[in-house]
């Protein structure tokens, strides 16, 4: 076991690659609670952070994990937390308010399947807020996206979610961990030192500065500020997608995360038999790569959406396609008895069958 953080290719299980890349990206505070398939990330962070002067806390529940990360983030320390979907459910109130407090925070969802798409992109918490959401398809991509996540969180003072899953956590792959990044402590970070100056700092979801009057916080003004900020963030962050073979495609398949690799393999297999299949793999789920999906749909006879759930991303695909072609859902809930997200349907033969059927249906009708 090495704690070396210099670049170089190493064979690492996904959880370890994720942990190493977070530390390399400058993360110096992590808090979590054991839950499958997130647990190993917590273990690796506990092992790695002390060596770089960071802190890893095994909190008493997910509620306190995000609380601790909140406190650390408020000091300007690059902080992260995570769990699986169920644990993220517990964290939702805090996630909503951390966004209103304008704090950077990287949040991992090591999901069980793909049923957390709505939770991540619609925000499972109360009120109206947005998080940036990134969905790597494998650990090599996760390593890169985690670096981006910390950059984006810092730049936009907003939580950034990174969606992983059981496959990502437990697949070993040769990856390159980037060189360590140093992050400066931001001006707004708390350390006590502005006390007594007449301008002592505030980090709060009720407002960005103390009113120092007898009227109190103006929530309407604060929420309006936050909304304006969300619009600017959504407009400015470049959506990401991997687009393959869509120029002449009759059927375009849209899929995200680990299952997308199977879909891409199925698409290649079908191409080899003469079927014109293309793929769009959204990498940013928010902002959703609407334009990339729309362009890919131009000229296609059908857009098929594969995801391991009852149909969530398909809504965003329909909005993007906006009638250019029919959109059909070829996914579905596929789980083994453990419930941890091992999907029997992730089989290239099954997927080629569904893609071919989707095309047949529009061709013969």
């Amino acid at each position: 076991m090495t704690t070396a953080l210099t670049g170089g290719r190493r064979l690492l299980a996904g959880s370890e690659a994720i942990a190493e890349s977070m530390v390399a990206a400058g993360c110096r505070f992590f808090a979590g609670y054991p839950m499958t398939p997130f647990t190993e990330v917590l273990e690796h962070m506990a092992r790695l952070l002390p060596g770089v002067g960071g802190v890893c806390m095994n909190a008493e529940s997910e509620l306190e994990a995000i609380g601790m990360a909140w406190g650390a983030a408020a000091t300007g320390t690059p902080a992260a937390t995570g769990s699986t979907g169920q644990g993220l459910s517990l964290m939702q109130e805090s996630l909503a308010e951390i966004t209103l407090a304008r704090l950077p925070l990287v949040v991992l969802d090591m999901a069980r399947g793909q049923g957390d798409y709505y939770q991540a992109t619609r925000g499972g918490g109360h009120g109206d807020y947005r998080h940036l959401v990134l969905a790597p398809a494998d650990s090599a991509e996760a390593v890169v996206l985690l670096g981006s996540a910390f950059d984006l969180a810092e730049r936009w003072r907003n939580p950034v979610l990174v969606m992983g899953d059981y496959y990502l956590a437990h697949t070993a792959r040769s990856v390159t961990i980037p060189d360590p990044v140093e992050r400066a402590v931001p001006d707004w970070g708390l350390d006590g030192s502005s006390g007594g100056t007449g301008r002592a700092k505030l980090v709060s979801f009720l407002g960005s500065r103390k009113q120092r009057d007898d009227v109190g916080y103006d929530l309407a003004a604060h929420y309006a500020d936050c909304a304006e900020h969300t619009v600017e963030m959504t407009r400015s962050v470049e959506p990401l997608a991997e687009v393959t073979d869509t120029d002449d495609a009759d059927v375009v398949v849209v899929a995200f995360g680990t299952p997308a690799r199977y879909v891409q393999a199925a698409a290649r297999a079908l191409r080899a038999t003469g079927v014109r299949v293309g793929c769009v793999r959204p990498i940013s789920l928010y902002p959703f790569p609407t334009e990339a999906v729309a362009r890919a749909a131009d000229g296609a006879r059908v857009v098929a959406v594969y995801e391991n759930n009852q149909g969530q991303m398909v809504d965003d695909v329909r909005l993007a396609v906006l009638g250019r072609a029919p959109v059909t859902f070829i996914g579905g809930l596929s789980l083994d008895s453990s419930g941890f997200g091992i999907a029997p349907d992730l089989d290239v033969r099954i997927l080629t069958g569904r893609i071919a059927t989707a095309l047949e249906r529009v061709t013969t009708s």
Binding site: R28, S61, G67, A74, L190, D191, G192, L202, S204, D214
Partner: protein
């Protein structure tokens, strides 16, 4: 003269808490303790949600707003990230004993070097006067209109007494602010609690019983006696644990 008095680190001007509320008195001695120990430029106050939250807007120390019950975990994150800072929480009894019991117990158990401060008036004041886990038997609130009845509502949790049993806690005390003498005694507890933190002795806790005539359905001038006779009779004042020098 009273008119010449300027509270340390709190804006001069009117607050909108009820006449007779004990929370402004408690806030004053907390900030005085910070100023007297020369901790002003190191202190970060983590606020819960209650009537006292209004003060977060008017303090000249750094403030971090947390959710109801959840200041101790946030304070833990602050202190672990900035170990040289002085971190305290300001929470009511509804916040700390009802919603947040898990948080404060675990924070004490871990021996976190933070100072949790509970303003205990035995009610959820901000929402209009409802029963909290600290409400005493017989106390009338909007959710215990005939008075808290053990058969229906159980008995209050005496948080300071619980915390005193936790090994990670170095200093645990309960004070009142219903008389000049009690205010002075409570302030000494706060000074000792911050000292415990500064000397990294472990978790420190001060419970401050405050008047709430509105929440108790009593006249303003009756509140100090009500506090003494009803709340302090159950949440007994005193230093429950002092192992700062161990």
């Amino acid at each position: 003269m009273v008119d010449d008095f300027v509270p340390a680190l709190i804006d001069v001007g009117a607050h909108h808490l009820c006449p007779g509320c004990g929370e402004p008195i408690a806030m004053r001695i907390v900030l005085e303790a910070v100023a007297e120990l020369d901790l002003t430029r190191r202190t970060i106050a983590v606020f819960g949600i209650g009537c006292y939250t209004a003060f977060s807007n008017n303090l000249d120390v750094e403030v971090l707003q947390a959710l109801h019950g959840r200041a101790p975990s946030v304070a833990t994150g602050v202190k672990r990230a900035r170990p040289d800072s002085i971190v305290c929480t300001i929470q009511g009894d509804g916040d700390m004993v009802s919603e947040g019991l898990q948080e404060v117990l675990h924070t004490a158990a871990r021996g976190e070097s933070v100072t949790c401060i509970m303003l205990n008036n035995g009610v959820f004041g901000e929402t209009g006067g409802h029963m909290s886990a600290a409400t005493v038997v017989g106390q009338r609130t909007k959710t215990s209109l005939e008075g808290r009845d053990p058969a229906l509502h159980g008995r209050p949790i005496l948080l300071a007494s619980l915390l005193a049993q936790i090994e990670g806690a170095a200093f645990v005390a309960r004070g009142l602010v219903n008389s000049a003498g009690n205010v002075a005694r409570t302030k000494k507890m706060l000074l000792r609690a911050f000292e415990a933190q500064d000397r990294r002795a472990g978790f420190s806790f001060v419970e401050i019983l405050t008047m709430c005539p509105t929440g108790w359905f009593v006249e303003t001038e009756e509140a100090p006696d009500y506090l003494e006779g009803h709340l302090a009779a159950v949440h007994a004042p005193g230093v429950l644990k002092d192992e700062v020098d161990r």
